[in-house]
Symmetry: C2
Subunit: 343 residues, 2 copies
Amino acid sequence: MKVKTAILGVTGAVGQEFLKLLVERDFPLESLKVLASARSAGKTVEFKGQTLTIEEATPEAFDGVELVLSSAGGSVSKKLVPEAVKRGAVVVDNTSAFRMDEGVPLIVPEVNRHVLKEHRGIIANPNCSTIIMVLPLKPLHDRWGVRRVICSTYQAVSGAGWTGIRELEQQVADLAAGREPKIEVFPQQIAYNAIPRIPQSGGVFDDGYLHEEVKMIKETVKIFGDESIHVTATCVRIPVIRCHSETLNVELVKPFTLDEVREALAGAEGVTVQDDVANNVYPVPLACSFLDDVFVGRLRVDNTLPQAVNMWICGDQIKKGAALNAIQIAEDLIRQDLVRVPA
Amino acid sequence: MKVKTAILGVTGAVGQEFLKLLVERDFPLESLKVLASARSAGKTVEFKGQTLTIEEATPEAFDGVELVLSSAGGSVSKKLVPEAVKRGAVVVDNTSAFRMDEGVPLIVPEVNRHVLKEHRGIIANPNCSTIIMVLPLKPLHDRWGVRRVICSTYQAVSGAGWTGIRELEQQVADLAAGREPKIEVFPQQIAYNAIPRIPQSGGVFDDGYLHEEVKMIKETVKIFGDESIHVTATCVRIPVIRCHSETLNVELVKPFTLDEVREALAGAEGVTVQDDVANNVYPVPLACSFLDDVFVGRLRVDNTLPQAVNMWICGDQIKKGAALNAIQIAEDLIRQDLVRVPA
C-alpha cells in the first residue's frame, strides 16, 4: 500500500526532519505534497533527487491527500487539520491542539499503538518531553506498576524550532565577539544559562505549573490509559541543541531488583540502556542527538525509598520527540490499515 | 580583633575569590599570607593596592598564622591542614578531606553556626551542591520538618575550577572555528551537552551513586544534625560558567500552605525568593552569578503528593558554594571568639 501524503509545515525543524525520515525509512509514498505558510509558498525543497515546490497550506491543498504529517503550530492545526480530515485525510498532528480531545488517540507506538484504531481522522503526537519519558516508563509499568514519577527536564533549544537553535548559536557568537546577545525567542539569554520556563509550550497555570509540565502530567495518563500514574515535573531549558534529557525518580508498586529493571529496560522497544557510570558509560544529549531511541543510564535504587528507582534519560527532541514518533504512528496506521477517516 | 590569616591555594578559582571577598567584606586582617604549590611560589597577587608574593605551601609556612582559608584540593589538605593546626592555626577547609570526620564541624552558618564551638582546629566547608541546597531547606525543616528531598542538579563548570571554565570556553571557541574540541577536564564534551557524572568530586560507589551525590546525601544529615532528613540526588554538569541550579522535591512532615512556605523562605537568612513565573520572575544561573544568596523560585505544591513542594534554586558555586561560605564561617569564628585551637 502506497499513500498520498502531505507535510504541513515543511519549512520547520520538524518538517525538514519529516523529509529526511521519509527517505531514511523508505516510507511508502504514492505522492508527496509539501505545504507551508503563504510566506514560503513557491520556494522549493529537494526530496529523493526531485525538486518539490512548496504550496500554500489552504483547505483545498488537502484535496486528494490521504495522510498528513502536520507540524505547523497549534493555531494552524486548529484551523487546517479539520479541513484536511473533512477532505478524507488522516492527520498525524504534532501540536497540542487536539491532544487531550476525546476521540483523538494520543500515541507513542511503543506504548499504546493498540488505541490507534479508535481514531476519527486525527491522531495526536504527544509533547516531546512526554514521549521521551514514557518510553522507559512503559516496561516498568507493565511489570511493576508505576505509581509516581518526579521528573526534572534538561530541554534542548530545538523545542523552539529553528529560531531556538539560531538564537543559542547567535548568542554564543555575539558573546565571543563582545557584542550584547539578542534575546528574542527565550525569556532570558539561553547561552551559558538554564531557564525553568518553556514559553513555546504555552503559559502558566494559577498553581505555578507550566503548560509544558502539565502536558507531561496529563498526557502520560492518557497515553497509558491509566489514572494511577502520577507525574510531577519541573521543566528547564538548557543550552543543548537538539536532544532532551530528564532525571526520573520512579516509584513502583511491586518490589523489584535493579538488575530486573535494567533487563526490562534493555528489552523494551525503542529503549537503549547505557549504564556503567564507573566506566563513564551513560547517555549524554550530544551523543544521543540524531539517534532514534531513548537512552537510559544512571540507574540506581532510590536510597530514600527502596520501591523507587532513579535514572537519567536522553532522547532526540526533533526525532523521537517529534518527527520520528509521528512517522512511526503513520507507519502503524498503514500496517493496521487505518489510513482512512471513519464515516 | 584582627587575625593573622593565610590563604592556601590562592591561585585557584576559589582562592582568587577569597582575595576578592576579604576586600569586599572588609575582613579584619592583621596580616595575609598567600600560599600555593611550588609551581606558583614567587608569583605575585595584588591585594588592596599591595603586591603579595606567593609562598610555597610547606608545613613551616603556617608558623604564626591564626586562621587558614584552605582550598587547594583534598590531597593537599590531608597533608597540610593538620600541620597548620599543629602550629596553632584554625583552618576552614573547602575540600572533602575532613568533612565527615568526628570533631570536625561541617558548617553552613545560616543552618548550624551553633556547632562551630565544637571545633578542634578544623572546620569543614561542605560540598557546593550541598551548601546551596541546605539554605532553602533550613526554614522548611525548622517549621515543618523535612522528611525526603529528591534533588536534580544543573552544575556549573566552575566546580572543576579554572580548568573547567577554560575547557568550556575553549570548546565553544574550537567548535565555532570548526576545530575538534579537546576533552580533558570533563569526561565528554561539555559545550552544548549535559553530563551526569562529576569526576572532580570523586568516583562512583557500587550502587551507582556518584561521590558527589553521596556527599549531598550524607553532608545534609550532618549539617542539620538530623538523621530523619533523607536526600536522594542525581548530579549533572551543564554548560553554565559559575552558578549551580537544582530542582528540589521536598516532602514535609507537617501540613503547610504554599504561601507559608514562600514566606518562610523569604524570611530566611541567605535566601532570596524570586517566584512569579507568569511574569518570567524566577532565578536563572546567569543572573545569580556573582551574588551572595541562594535564590528560590518555581514554588509549587507537588500535584502527586500534597505534603511535598517543588522548587528551583540557584546559587553561585564559587561564592556561596565555596569561598563565601568559608569566609562567613571565618567571620563567625571571630564573632564567637573561636579563632584558637583548643588544647
